[in-house]
């Protein structure tokens, strides 16, 4: 399998404020979010990072999308290092997380054009791609409606469309169906499958077992910043259901602690 992403020894530690220490219930000033993480993603597959809340999934994806820098380690995406060529990485990825928001004052039409220009999409391609994407997600009827007047579901669809304006080779989705209504969630999962069929690579994080089973070709289970197991769905599950396998690993690591 041809690798498109190779992650080697990625680590990230955060300094906690007093308020954060209180929320986390700890007196430690440092929190290791990701610890020496290594894995690879093959071209044209859907790779899932599965783990509980606070396991380090989002931090990993944020490092891969170059929003934050690793303390150590590196990841090379399609020949571009996140440390040495972050702009090259950003050209090749579409990143979507619920943290990324769109400006309320603009219309979908304007935002599509704006982000297309920032991604250096040729002017001649913008209109055609916009028509295709807007139709696919049912945004075409709302193209001239300001974001602040769109429904929550429509805003989420628009966020997905905006993250894909440049038709990236690698799509990184942090909890892709989190907070979506069932119809939008189905639209998203169907679209992810379509993208894979088109040869795109998708890296997603989730804590939803069924999503992994339905979508992912390979999966890595991440607990407390460690990659506990990584491989094809069959290899990782080892004849078990993914949910059962996850809790088995979780108990092994945490000693029965829930």
């Amino acid at each position: 399998m041809e690798e498109i992403l190779h992650v080697e020894g990625l680590s990230k530690t955060f300094t906690l404020s007093k308020k954060q220490q209180k929320i986390e219930g700890t007196d430690q000033k440092k929190k290791v979010a990701v610890d020496n993480l290594s894995f690879f993603v093959g071209k044209g597959e859907i790779f899932g990072l599965l783990g509980p809340n606070g396991a380090g999934k989002t931090t990993t994806l944020r490092m891969l999308s170059t929003l934050i820098k690793p303390d150590s380690g590196d990841a090379v995406l399609d020949g571009c290092s996140i440390n040495d060529d972050p702009e090259g990485v950003r050209k090749r990825i579409g990143f979507l997380t619920s943290e990324l928001k769109l400006e309320d004052a603009f219309t979908p039409n304007y935002l599509f054009d704006f982000f297309s220009k920032l991604h250096q999409v040729p002017d001649s391609d913008i209109a055609e791609r916009k028509k295709k994407m807007f139709e696919r997600f049912g945004i075409d009827k709302f193209a001239e409606v300001k974001v602040k007047s769109l429904s929550t579901g429509m805003k989420q669809k628009l966020s997905i469309v905006i993250s894909l304006v440049h038709n990236p080779e690698v799509i990184i989705f942090d909890e892709p169906t989190n907070g979506l209504d069932v119809l939008t969630a189905r639209t998203v999962t169907d679209y992810l499958k379509q993208l894979r069929d088109e040869g795109k690579t998708i890296i997603l994080s989730t804590h939803i077992f069924s999503l992994v089973e339905r979508l992912c070709d390979r999966v890595g289970i991440i607990i407390d910043g460690h990659m506990t197991v990584c491989g094809s769905l069959e290899e990782v599950c080892d004849g078990m259901k993914i949910e059962d396998r996850f809790f088995e690993l979780y108990k092994e690591l945490k000693g029965g602690e829930e």
Partner: protein, 396 residues
């Protein structure tokens, strides 16, 4: 394909010009408010100055001296002199503004006492008491005239020499030209006003454009595009500067239109004695000032957690700019040492002073514009680093 900087500039313009409320509060309102407020102030001052001029004032005089009577009776046609003894009821009426009046109380046998008074004895001189109410314009007017007449009378009693006696209306001792006098007034007022207006314009938009993007989560959406951070920083600063400049121009128009009404209250004829190059220098300096204001406010906004926090951080800085604007009021002339023109904000103010007092020289202008551009470059570099810093961008 356009550069990302121009894409960011266009987006900031679209955001601003797509918001009618923002256009009104940032561009239209400052100029309109300044025009209305200054015009009302001008009218008010003018009204105050003329009010009470034609009102008849009763002057009660106790012990009117023979030598003084002819002088007083001819001093003001709108006065009625009544010889009267000191009366507390009249004083009370004057205090309550029930009457337009002045009460003058001469010492008994005033003429003889002043004729025989010898300062060398150490005795106190005869005292003339004038009771008036300074908050009553008519009373105040007559008090001023009375004082002047009596002071002139006292001077004439021991006149040994005059200072600047005007033998004719053409005689001038203050050799400052009208242009110089107008320039002096403008140099003390306008630089501070311009700096305040420009800063208000920057304040109105910059926190929302940077701290607001952090608060709304839209900055992260920009940061995951392949755009270089310095393109984003430059695009933000240039677009904010241009919008703030529009706000400043609006304020400037408001000042220019209302200035005649303000100054005409003081009977000064407005005839601005400046040439095209003066206006070019002013425009250059205004743009250089806006650049550096937008730079500093952008840096503070990027560091702030949200718009409210940005406002708190920017306020002390605004006070510094306002204080710098007051400097021309307490100085004799703009400095000649070029090193002073390296100090941001202060340099712009001093170059404006030079323009208004007709002492424009190109070196201070070039040093000011050049240094401000260098400082803006440093700010773009700093803002780029801040956009690159996860601690600053995602501190929450």
């Amino acid at each position: 394909m356009k550069s990302n900087t121009s894409t960011i500039i266009n987006k900031e313009f679209a955001r601003f010009f797509g918001d009618k409320q923002l256009i009104f509060t940032t561009i239209i309102m400052p100029g309109l408010l300044i025009y209305i407020i200054y015009s009302l102030m001008g009218n008010g001052i003018s009204k105050l100055a003329t009010e009470g001029q034609n009102e008849v004032v009763t002057v009660w005089v106790d012990n009117m001296p023979q030598t003084i009577a002819p002088m007083l009776e001819g001093m003001d046609s709108n006065t009625v002199f009544i010889e009267s003894v000191f009366n507390q009821d009249n004083i009370d009426s004057l205090e309550n503004k029930d009457i337009n009046a002045v009460f003058v109380r001469f010492p008994k046998d005033f003429d003889n006492r002043i004729e025989n008074y010898d300062p060398s004895t150490g005795e106190l001189a005869p005292n003339v008491e004038i009771y008036y109410n300074s908050t009553n314009n008519a009373s105040n007017r007559v008090y001023t005239t009375l004082s002047a007449v009596l002071t002139a009378f006292e001077d004439s009693m021991s006149n040994r020499f005059d200072i600047n006696r005007a033998d004719s209306e053409l005689q001038r001792y203050d050799i400052a030209t009208e242009d110089q006098m107008l320039g002096d007034i403008l140099s003390k007022l306008i630089p501070m006003l311009i700096m305040m207006m420009l800063f208000s314009g920057v304040m109105a938009i910059a926190p929302s454009a940077i701290a607001g993007e952090k608060e709304r989560g839209t900055i992260a959406t920009l940061l995951v595009t392949p755009m270089r951070r310095n393109e984003l920083a430059l695009g933000k600063i240039v677009s904010l500067s241009c919008i703030a400049l529009l706000s400043g121009i609006s304020s400037f128009i408001g000042i220019a239109l209302s200035l005649p009404k303000m100054i005409s209250a003081e009977d000064v004829e407005i005839n601005l004695p400046y040439v095209a190059s003066d206006y070019v220098v002013l425009l250059l300096i205004i743009f250089a000032s806006v650049l550096i204001m937008a730079s500093v406010v952008s840096l503070l906004s990027a560091y702030a957690k949200d718009v409210k926090n940005a406002g708190t951080m920017i306020t002390p800085f605004m006070l510094v700019v306002m204080l710098a604007g007051l400097i021309p009021m307490f100085q004799n002339a703009a400095p000649d040492n070029l090193a002073f023109y390296l100090i941001p904000f202060y340099n712009s103010i001093e170059v404006m002073v030079r323009v208004f007092v007709h002492e424009t020289e190109w070196m201070p202008v070039l040093v000011t514009v050049g240094s401000n551009i260098v400082y803006t470059g440093i700010a773009v570099w700093g803002l780029t680093r801040m956009f690159n810093s996860e601690k600053v961008m995602f501190s929450s």
